[in-house]
């Protein structure tokens, strides 16, 4: 079953396209990565899939429904945004943030009750952060904040997950733990995942498909395109090293910023 269909989509701001004519389909059990240098439209693509911005051209369907239409399907995607740290003094605890995942199912005047709290606690326990339920969200580390947002995204029992650079700004140890958790979500809950990143190496073992975004160029397909030197050269505009170590491949892109 097709979960997300991106059909000949062009994206950009003020009529100027950053991505042109992109097409790919996300199906059940897929683990897609969206990778490329800064400023090539990775977050723009995610925002278009979520219906937050309109494509200049083309169509995006989520569960068969055009995302620009108000359809229930849009709410079936769990989303963890790219983010800087929260305001450390914002009056919200981890529990409050996780419970926002229940809001879609509650009508006007209704507040989350005991049932919702128990489910939130259960999710936090599953993610190994139950003891932080009453902590102010702004006081947590970057990695813990992403975990809380992951719990929030999972609360609504989504049918797909979109993670926008969930490991950026997170220290290396927390990064590994976070990826372990994302793997747990992917494998145990069987959710298709779209994972935006600069660095695919920590998730290479999970990736089934990839979208590579470069400046005015793109490629989308199975994971093999990640190891295609010709495609990588076109996307990054330079030779990209692929290193094999202990039976695993690593792609060495370095920090790439458009001049």
């Amino acid at each position: 079953m097709k979960i997300i269909e991106v059909k000949d989509v062009s994206l950009g701001y003020n009529g100027k396209a950053v991505v042109e004519g992109l097409s790919f389909d996300v199906e059940e059990k897929d683990f897609w990565t969206i990778v490329g240098p800064n400023g090539t439209g990775k977050t723009t693509l995610i925002k278009a899939i979520l219906g937050l911005i309109k494509p200049i051209k083309g169509k995006i369907l989520v569960f068969g429904c055009p995302v620009q239409k108000v359809c229930r399907h849009r709410k079936m995607i769990g989303y963890v945004p790219q983010m800087e740290k929260f305001d450390p003094n914002f009056p919200a605890r981890v529990m409050d943030v996780v419970l926002t995942g229940s809001y879609n199912k509650l009508g006007a005047f209704k507040m989350p009750g005991k049932k919702e709290r128990e489910r939130a606690l259960e999710l936090l326990r599953w993610l190994g952060m139950e003891e932080l339920a009453d902590h102010p969200i702004g006081k947590l580390s970057g990695g813990q904040q992403r975990k809380a947002l992951l719990a929030r995204a999972l609360f609504a029992e989504p049918r797909a997950l979109i993670l926008d650079e969930p490991t950026s700004g997170v220290d290396i140890v927390s990064q590994e733990k976070l990826i372990e958790l994302i793997e747990k979500v992917y494998r145990e809950k069987g959710l298709p995942v779209l994972f935006v990143t600069h660095n695919v190496n920590p998730i290479l073992h999970l990736i089934t498909n990839a979208v590579l975004l470069g400046f005015g160029k793109h490629a989308a397909g199975s994971r093999e395109i990640l190891f295609d030197r010709k495609i990588l050269r076109e996307i990054y505009g330079k030779e990209i090293e692929i290193v094999s170590q202990e039976g695993r491949k690593y792609i060495i892109t370095g920090d790439y910023h458009h001049a």
Binding site: K75, I77, Y79, P88, N89, P91, V97, Y103, L106
Partner: protein, 268 residues
């Protein structure tokens, strides 16, 4: 009951201060967490230019205060929505424009009299029964609005992008929040005055913000501080015969200062 409390004028003043002490901190709580408190100052000054216009054309000043500030709110909202201008910038521009217009209208009409000053500095002792009914209805409407949409308002205050991605119409709720604050400010203008209304809008909420990480508790504390400031301020002003608006805001500031000093929240 002390004799003074049997006077109709004092009873009305106390009722009005009680209502204003709830209305402003309620709207102010959202303005503080959304970091849009300056909006309140802008709206209050824009409302004053409406008052001056009303006085100039001999039409009900509050009606014009309402029209001016709602129009300005829609402009500010539209500017923010189209991302062409920051809130702060559009408020700053409209703020200055409004003050210039207000002074111009008063200059043309030559009405620098007590009525204009009353709206600028506030005089809760001039509150009529009609004003109290208006404030009471507004409080009821605000309570219904905030209770019905607490979830949406809290969520978008926490993270607008995430709220929007979850299907909340952030743009519409931003406008509704802005309008609810505008109504609160305009309705409180006569009691506290354009110069001081901002104090009661922001200080009780800012004090509450210092003391808790629970948004519901913050709103409750903000209402409590608003009530203490307004009722306490009016009582002090009656007994020692000093201007009520200033006393209310000074008391709100004292509460804020204490909260700030005893807050466990730290920056960074």
């Amino acid at each position: 009951m002390p004799e003074i409390l049997k006077l109709g004028i004092i009873q009305r003043a106390l009722f009005a201060s009680l209502l204003v002490g709830l209305i402003l901190p309620l709207s102010g709580s959202f303005a503080v967490v959304r970091k849009s408190a300056f909006l309140g100052a802008g709206v209050a000054h824009i409302a004053f230019s409406g008052v001056a216009f009303g006085l100039m054309i001999s039409s009900p000043p509050i009606l014009w205060a309402f029209i001016f500030s709602v129009l300005a709110s829609v402009l500010i909202w539209h500017g923010g929505k189209s991302k062409r201008m920051d809130y702060d910038l559009s408020i700053g521009i409209l703020f200055s424009l409004a003050m210039a217009l207000g002074i111009l209208f008063l200059g043309i009409s030559k009405k620098y009299g007590s009525e204009a000053l009353g709206y600028l500095f506030g005089n809760i002792l001039t509150t009529t029964k009609g004003d109290i009914y208006t404030l009471a209805v507004l409080l009821l409407l605000l309570l219904i609005f905030y209770l019905a949409f607490y979830k949406e308002l809290f969520f978008m205050s926490f993270n607008e992008e995430l709220a929007e991605a979850s299907g909340i119409n952030v743009s519409v709720f931003s406008l509704l929040l802005l309008l609810s604050m505008t109504l609160s400010v305009v309705a409180s203008l006569k009691a506290v005055g354009a110069l001081l209304v901002f104090g009661l809008l922001v200080m009780p909420a800012a004090a509450a913000y210092q003391l808790t990480y629970d948004f519901k508790k913050m709103i409750t504390l903000s209402l409590l501080f608003g009530l203490i400031s307004s009722i306490g301020g009016i009582a002090i002003s009656i007994f020692i015969d000093v201007p009520s608006g200033a006393t209310i805001v000074l008391l709100a500031f004292a509460i804020f200062l204490l909260s700030f000093l005893f807050s466990r929240k730290k920056g960074g």
